[in-house]
């Protein structure tokens, strides 16, 4: 188990370095010279050259990459071109809200998705099954922003039930819950379909397994068979697949944050790109990528931890 974790950690390092290298090269191809930006519009050539030396921009690229990595390890991702605030400072305030939004979305969508998938698999071929399948095909075709705009229009604007812009506060306050409700409904709403589909496949597979037949044969109640013998085993692949869908969720989160002006990493990234704030864009993309690699790593380890059969491999 420990060996597996270490092995996975080791294979992650080159990927992380690759991401950082791409993030670094991103800054090399953009058409702005950070030294000129920092020096200001009235600076002399000498001043720009001096700043260039100070920032290490006169060094060869590989030395600059080294400097960049060293600064990164110290938590220095540069300074925003737009408002001169340190990128890490701005970023640190947005990670919490993004995690909050993702958590709130998964909190309600996973149980519903699993329930729908189990129902569909148990009554395979019935009207219920076909309804769930149709729902998941249709649900997988809805643009996130469509769902968001509809919720804003009806729940937020027409019925005035919930706020639809910004974040009211942390999750443990009432304002926090109210403000996260619509974004979480939107993001979670697009997540039900894939979870239901994956659960249905997994439960179908387990239902035809021999240990389920044995459980039935020894006279267990149907609910015991389904809940304890079938669903429990089916959950292993479902957990992994949900983990692998985090990327999908992240994409939805970027859009959801923009629709609801939710102050998360995704909205910060989009805003930075649209305003050509390159250091900020670079920082947000790096943080999103590294976070993503981390999630994949955790899912992978979790998979082995959940399924003893995987330990030998």
């Amino acid at each position: 188990m420990l060996r597996h974790v270490l092995q996975r950690l080791l294979t992650t390092i080159p990927v992380m370095l690759g991401v950082l290298l791409i993030g670094f090269l991103l800054m090399q191809v953009v058409p702005t010279d950070p030294a000129i930006v920092r020096a200001g519009p009235t600076a002399t050539v000498e001043l720009v050259n001096e700043i260039r030396r100070e920032l290490g921009l006169d060094q060869p690229l590989y030395v600059q990459f080294g400097i960049y990595l060293w600064k990164l390890l110290q938590g220095d991702l540069g300074v925003s071109i737009i408002n001169n605030v340190a990128v890490t400072q701005e970023l640190s305030g947005t990670i919490g809200p993004t995690l909050e939004l993702m958590f709130a979305s998964l909190f309600w969508s996973i149980p519903i998705g699993i329930a729908l998938g189990t129902i569909a698999a148990y009554w395979r071929g019935s009207v219920l099954d076909r309804a769930v399948t149709a729902f998941s095909v249709a649900g997988g075709s809805v643009p996130v922003f469509f769902l968001g705009l509809m919720l804003i229009w009806y729940v937020g604007f027409q019925w005035q039930l919930l706020p639809f812009t910004g974040r009211g506060g942390p999750l443990w306050t009432l304002e926090g819950w109210q403000s996260v409700a619509l974004p979480a409904l939107t993001l979670g709403g697009t997540f039900i379909a894939p979870v239901a589909r994956m659960t249905r496949t997994a439960v179908l597979e387990v239902l035809s397994a021999e240990h389920v037949r044995t459980a039935r044969a020894k006279g267990l109640s149907e609910s015991a068979v389904v809940l304890h013998h079938a669903l429990r085993n089916a959950l292993i692949p479902v957990v992994t697949l949900i983990g692998l869908q985090i990327g999908f969720l992240l994409g939805g989160a970027v859009v959801t944050e923009t629709v609801f002006s939710w102050p998360g990493v995704g909205r910060l990234a989009v805003g930075a790109i649209l305003s050509s704030d390159f250091p900020m864009a670079q920082g947000t993309i790096i943080v999103l990528s590294l976070g993503f690699i981390l999630v994949n790593l955790v899912v992978d380890v979790l998979y082995v931890a959940l399924d003893p059969r995987m330990r030998g491999h």
Binding site: V137, S141, F145, F146, M150, G247, V255, T258, I273, L274
Partner: protein, 297 residues
């Protein structure tokens, strides 16, 4: 050589004729009413996208501020007008065209590159591991991250979106193609073709690739729907098509500013995106069922 071939063909003909005729792919597909509807929809949508400039009643950039935010049903404007008084029908047709072209380009570019990687990996054992590890790395990043990074480097626009979605499609197609090609590689006719001294490229192009077409086709259809969803989302964020260009996601984004006064400006493009994606998803599922003999009852 030619005489042997024709003799073989002559010998094979009676056998083929005596076999019960298998209904064509299309016929099998259209037997399902839902699939048939999806197929008709896809044909109509492609037709509308291709002929948009001729079908559209007005110029897509023609604005008439007197009609700004006209609701659907206003005289002469069946679906109303947008915030600048441009005819919604015209904008939707052109938007559909740009959105579908964006999707088509991404699936074609990413699909071709992915197929190349997949065939190479299946054919040359030595680099299989390396290639597929690389694909795994690509696969571990969500498409939206490629979209953000590429828009940051090259600036927002349709080319950035196409590039991002192509890159995101490569590893998926590579996996599908490799899987299909590995099965075909075990067939006797590949061995036979190889024993005639056929070169690798010819072998891949003439014998391997044609027999891997159905999974490729099914994947491309399903991927088209996903790519439309992602591309319109990137445009909605402002990273794709730039105004005044009509693109469905960009139109929805523009309409978002007028949601409370004229919801139709945002809602109609959203509905159209939903219909396009749904039609391709349903058709892709049906194609898979029709082409995969294991699923056929």
């Amino acid at each position: 050589m030619a005489s042997i071939n024709s003799a073989a063909a002559a010998a094979a003909t009676p056998v083929a004729a005596s076999m019960p005729k298998r209904p064509g792919m299309l016929k099998r597909l259209l037997r399902e009413p839902v699939a048939a509807i999806a197929f008709v929809l896809v044909v109509l949508l492609i037709g509308a996208a291709v002929f948009a400039p001729w079908l559209a009643p007005t110029d897509p950039f023609d604005n008439d501020l007197a009609n700004a935010m006209a609701v659907p049903g206003t005289d002469g404007l069946l679906l109303g007008a947008d915030s600048q008084g441009r005819n919604m029908i015209t904008r939707l047709l052109h938007g559909l065209r740009i959105t579908m072209m964006m999707g088509m380009a991404s699936v074609l570019l990413g699909g071709l590159a992915g197929a190349l990687v997949g065939f190479t990996a299946a054919f040359y054992n030595r680099i299989d591991g390396l290639l597929m590890r690389l694909m795994d790395v690509l696969l571990s990043f969500p498409a939206i991250l490629f979209g953000l990074a590429i828009a940051a480097i090259f600036g927002p626009g349709v080319p950035a979106v196409v590039l991002a979605l192509s890159v995101a499609t490569v590893p998926l197609m590579a996996r599908i193609v490799r899987g299909a090609a590995l099965v075909v590689m075990r067939m006797d006719y590949i061995e036979a073709a190889r024993s005639t001294g056929m070169g690798d490229v010819r072998l891949i192009l003439h014998h391997l690739a044609p027999n891997c077409l159905s999974p490729i086709f099914v994947f491309a259809t399903l991927r088209f729907g996903q790519v439309i969803l992602l591309g319109s989302a990137l445009s909605f964020l402002g990273l794709g098509a730039q105004p005044p260009l009509a693109e469905l996601g960009a139109m929805a984004s523009e309409g978002r500013n007028f949601l409370f006064f004229a919801p139709h400006i945002a809602v109609i493009p959203c509905v159209l995106i939903f219909v396009v994606v749904l039609a391709f998803n349903v058709l892709g599922d049906a194609l898979r069922d029709a082409l995969d003999p294991r699923l056929r009852s």
